[in-house]
Point group: C2
Chain length 386, copies 2
């Protein structure tokens, strides 16, 4: 018998989902303190505008999410529609509508099909369950161009964190908003939860979606039921970061057209912010992405990307290694290119590739995740029609 | 008989070039006040490091450029090699080596083949000529992944500006450094020339190379012979900008794998800087590029790119038009998506596409150029091996 692998591993979390063609709906019920992280794009979807205000209450009792229509660039009507999604959920589940999280993903610049959403909500609400199949149906309901559903589970002595997400990783795809739903039984105050989520998101999702690129709809909700009692905040934050990194890596791996997961590890930067800049610039560079697709250990492209990131370092002092599942090879040591690149080339042969950069400029570290750039990406995004 | 179409249309400019396999060499001789603009990448090639210092003299008598090896990330030996290129040229032409501009383009992290460069310089120096075929041979000698050579000529009452360049436009290609050589017979002091070049480059080349992306080797040299006498600085700057825009558009059109030139015109921004940010972000967005390749008038991708650019505006007030060679259609007017996108879709059918955005936030304007993203780009950059 299958085990619970994400949100339903947390006591008190109930899920349900439905997908009809490209139109899906997911409900998740769990009461607790709550926090959220939102897109930084100024073109924000209606549910983002609504929830940025409502989350200030620090409490959620449920979330409703539709896929197929982003409810973005839809003006006041869009905001009314997002409110209506919360109201419909509240009515079905006898909750306060102000405590229902709302999110949408799908095509931009279209209005929601509210009758369909009402109907789907009414259909699935009675099926809310605390079970392996329930968390799977919710994870499937929010998928758009995703090829696989995404689950993460982190257990620590005394508490558990489970999450699901959607996103197909590449640069802010039109149908590829990143949505995340994380639950824990730890008892955490709303302000502490907000601060932990901010740190975790910064070191996970924000380092997957390439180049600071964010869609109109990105949101991560985090709810803490409190059933397991108080836990130290730093321990919780570290576990939350681990959960979000697991989800973020799954988004990168499922990137549109991707054949390889790329992990860029930067150390020796002047600060974590500069390490972050370098890691995200390298993992987002089309030339690095295509080189890795072609299994070419092209040091010049890596350092050229790092050099334009805005971080300060001496290119002549940089070292770089490329690692695959079983091999790790220096490409460049303190500015001197390795004479034999055959091991580095072989390391690029697998499904996971690590690029390690030591900038020799300080103690800042950061990791970012992405995927290779393939003809398939162009096909998916070029052949998509309105 | 063919006419001079670029640098040799300017009196006193002599050119020569040779290409042997992937190794090319170009010499251009012309004495005058001089200015240059360089890459902002901190990973700078040796000739860039050398010339950033030497151009401060405000004078050039010739330039030497090799293609096939970038002489980048080559440490002190690279700087010595770049100095040697200047010395070899100075010896052949009896000039001061401090007045010889040096540039390189090609593979990063390799040392120059100096014997080959000496031999090629010695071979072509006697053929320096003021003729149509001379400017063509120089323009061809500096090409790497370029498919076509690039010439521009602007004539104004009283003076002429001619330029050649290389660059295949896409995001900082490894073999795709942007190099420009612009000559004029106007009499301009070195400080005025530097200021005019800075303005012109900002509004041309810097808006082609996508996303602030710069290679290790980018440089534009501008030399003013003075033969035509003094001209008003603002008139000169405007003509120089026109010349650089012509060259920049040719780079975008020749982008690796490109099938369409994309021109993004932004107005109504709070400032020129913000218009510039939006124009470059939109033209650099992989999702916009693939949508245009697929001839899809995908407004959501355009506004999502603009929204993450860093510029401030109200997405609900934005208007957008798409234009081709003969058609122009509104896609969105003050936040409301057009119901009929068929004309916009038809407008995307040609080889040149214009996207116009009015942000309704101020009077800032800017134009940026790029090209679509195709499977061919991935093929060129993924299949390239070290």
């Amino acid at each position: 018998m299958s085990e619970m692998q994400s949100i339903c591993a947390v006591e008190g979390v109930y899920a349900a989902g439905i997908k009809e063609g490209k139109y899906g709906l997911a409900l998740i019920r769990a009461e607790g303190t709550a926090a959220a992280a939102f897109t930084k794009n100024i073109a924000r979807a209606a549910p983002v505008i609504l929830m940025q205000d409502r989350i200030k209450r620090g409490k959620l009792a449920a979330t409703i999410t539709n896929s197929g229509c982003a409810n973005a660039l839809t003006g006041q009507r869009g905001i009314n529609d997002a409110e209506e999604m919360a109201a419909v959920t509240a009515e079905e589940l006898s909750l306060d509508p102000l405590e229902v999280g709302v999110a949408s993903t799908g095509v931009i610049s279209r209005y929601l099909n509210l009758p369909l959403i009402r109907d789907q909500c009414h259909q699935i609400a009675p099926h809310l369950a605390h079970s392996p199949s329930a968390e799977i149906s919710a994870a499937k309901a929010i998928m758009t161009t995703d090829l696989v559903e995404k689950h993460a589970l982190v257990t620590r002595e005394g508490f558990t964190i489970g999450g699901i997400c959607k996103g197909s990783g590449m640069i802010a795809p039109n149908m590829g908003t990143m949505l995340g739903y994380v639950y824990t039984d730890a008892e955490i105050s709303a302000p502490d939860l907000q601060s932990a989520l901010k740190t975790a998101v910064r070191r996970s999702f924000n380092r997957v979606v390439v180049d600071g690129d964010t869609s109109t709809n990105d949101v991560v909700f985090c709810t803490a039921t409190g059933a397991a009692g108080k836990v130290p905040l730093n321990e919780f934050t570290s576990a939350l970061e681990e959960c979000c990194i697991s989800l973020g890596r799954q988004i990168a791996r499922d990137g549109e057209g991707a054949t390889k997961l790329i992990e860029v590890i930067v150390r020796g930067a002047r600060s974590e912010d500069e390490a972050d800049l370098v890691a995200r610039t390298v993992v987002g560079s089309p030339l690095v992405k295509t080189a890795i697709y072609g299994e070419d250990p092209n040091w010049g492209r890596i350092v050229a990307a790092a050099g334009r990131s805005g971080a300060e370092f001496d290119p002549e002092k940089v070292s770089c290694w490329i690692a695959g599942s079983e091999r790790r090879a220096a490409v460049c040591e303190r500015g001197v290119l390795s004479e034999d690149l055959s091991i580095a080339k072989a390391a690029l042969g697998g499904r996971e590739v690590q690029i390690e950069l030591d900038l020799s400029a300080g103690n800042g570290k950061a990791v970012a995740w992405g995927c290779d750039l393939t003809e398939k990406y162009v096909e998916i995004n070029g052949k998509y029609t309105t």
